[in-house]
Subunit: 446 residues, 2 copies
Amino acid sequence: MSSEGLVDVVKEAKKASLWLAQVRRLTKDDALRAAAREILLRKEEILRANTIEIANAEELMGKGKITPAIIDRLKLDQYKIGDIAKMIEEVASLDDPVGKPIIAMKLDEGMELFKTTVPFGVIAAIFESRPDALPQIAALCIKAGNAVLLKGGSEAQETNRMLFKIMRQALASKGIPEGAMWLLEGRQVIADLVKMEGLVDLIIPRGSNDFVRFIQDNTRIPVLGHSEGICHIYVDAAYPKRTTEIIVDARVQYPAACNSMKALLLDSRIGPKMVEYIATKLVEKGVVIKGCPKTAEILRAQKIPVMDANESDWSTEYLDLVLPVKIVNGVDEAIAHINRYSSKHTDAILTMDKNVAKHFLRMVDSSSVMLNISTRFADGYRYGIGAEVGISTNKIHARGPVGLEGLVTTKYILLGSGQKVSEYVGKGAKAFIHKRIIGNWESRME
Amino acid sequence: MSSEGLVDVVKEAKKASLWLAQVRRLTKDDALRAAAREILLRKEEILRANTIEIANAEELMGKGKITPAIIDRLKLDQYKIGDIAKMIEEVASLDDPVGKPIIAMKLDEGMELFKTTVPFGVIAAIFESRPDALPQIAALCIKAGNAVLLKGGSEAQETNRMLFKIMRQALASKGIPEGAMWLLEGRQVIADLVKMEGLVDLIIPRGSNDFVRFIQDNTRIPVLGHSEGICHIYVDAAYPKRTTEIIVDARVQYPAACNSMKALLLDSRIGPKMVEYIATKLVEKGVVIKGCPKTAEILRAQKIPVMDANESDWSTEYLDLVLPVKIVNGVDEAIAHINRYSSKHTDAILTMDKNVAKHFLRMVDSSSVMLNISTRFADGYRYGIGAEVGISTNKIHARGPVGLEGLVTTKYILLGSGQKVSEYVGKGAKAFIHKRIIGNWESRME
């Protein structure tokens, strides 16, 4: 798509977004349910498109351009299509994030102030090659009253085109304008999108750290995303078996997940036997341990395999079975290490001591802090906030797992009856009342 | 201050901020009240410092480097010092923005999730030369549990130093660490600050549009601020006298304010007589009208002074008595004009027609939208949210007038009892409960 063509598309999306912002919940939910139904009904078409995709991918794999893992991820079957339809229905069932009252206040007689949630407008989402990414992001954006520009990976092009076509038609059949949803293709699109400040209201990049970082560094449009997941577990003192199981879960269950444990801190008072026990269980699962000098000494004495950790290991996000391990003296050293090296995604403490736990949970400056549980629980679905747009390590706007609430902003609405500021300043100025009231601005206009 | 010196300061501030994050409300409020008392008690010292300042400024004025308006703004007297003390006490009386429960949910037996507000950490504020700016920003930041780096204008250096010294001593006397508050001086400091991603958590720039824009363009640290206030009033149809009074108030009462009306849209159906009447009243107040062709034609026919508006007038923020005026056909043309040219700060409609009003309030994509009232009401104090950090035209984080709620972020706290994610996936997986509960995480730890 040419840059000019893209500007036209974004303007159309903006127009649709203003319309969508004032649509009632029922219309949006009906449209999403229709999309879910159509995806089920037209699953043969989707599977055919996916078959072409897989054939193309296998050809690329023959040329060494694609790994078998990517092909696995691209592949759809009827069960996965069923899951996609179910996910869209779940989004339809979520509370409407738009129009939530935040402030309702009488400022003076005949002067009422309201603050309410409103959609962002136009959201550009750039996402990885997973066939459920497009319907998930599109459903969440539409539910939150936004128009959405969808840019998926070229490997998933055929399937994305088909899913997009079916969803857009289904939404349109229930009155959602076609301009509310666009599929973008081609690499140039990203370079153009990041420049569209004032037209695009939010960018959601998903993918590698480097990619997210690239987007953040090259745009003035707000970005919702996280670049790294350097998550820690600090073991203060807890039952050996449960502690070790949690550690193994956090490192091994899904090594490449952003919320998996990337470094382990062991308090020196747990003693060498416990260090050996934990290490043995990790090594059994194929984990390569990179130890600080003390850890390395303890493990080498017992002939447990260990490499020497160097400074850069503490700030590296290992997405495979590698684990830097450090022995620290006390919770404060652990907190200092985490606040220095953590990507502020998720960090956990394992302890039976409530005071130590409290101190850790308060002092660690991360989006999720946890007690006696695996870091892998940091996730929108597990947190019960519904489908997840992503996990934010930003401190502004949404922080941590982000659901629908991250796709809306707020707006003040002031209803007056002819007041001038000059009546409220200087001698004999009128005073404000500032009294909380009940209700929303629209009910005042009936 | 050298760049290395600044890094040390910011690290000290970070340390203090972690401590401050867990301080109870009473400590913070006591400390702020002590600061207010000390400012009153030591007013002679403050006035002496201010006298030196004014003498320096008058010397610069002699050299043409400073305007009389700046000297007026710099000048303190005992009443203004009284207002500063009162403002700090008011901040002490506000609700604590830290520790507010946002989510409390049982995910499963022995697994509870909480989301709560927490301070940002270290806030860097760069502000204009008004003697109340430093105590206001410092009080708000400390109340919200943040350490604050204060950088004022060099013209206000003497007064700022004295206010800073008194506040810091008073806060320290009530147990707030000295590291929580720093005064920075010198131009180089700004260039260094914007690079301190990961150390500084939020930048609040106040000042000219160009300055705010410069900060936004040169940092990856979140910025809370607004650059422009191109605010509109659209007159659909309303009583001539009240309408005109609101228009005059919005343009004339404080022309340089960010929330003053910068362009006026008149619906064609209000008729030429009304256009003439509004224009006459504005001209009487010294306003220079720049009219669209239709406006110019109507006014010239009656010999009312008018200049021709050109395209750039619609996107220019006139901070003096200049007013571009355009005649539009219907509310949709007004909405389209505003969504195109507004800086999305504050836009108002004057009308008696509730349906037209509703449509306007919904469709205009600005941080404050208003009905039958002057745009000048867009202000934290008038909105009843307490002292104002600034007005944000960002859509992420805080939008509109920003008080204490803009100085905190959120954190998830997950309290587990040994759970692993592997128990919740695959065959025989445990299910989540996701049930809202009452309480906060700290009460669970007692």
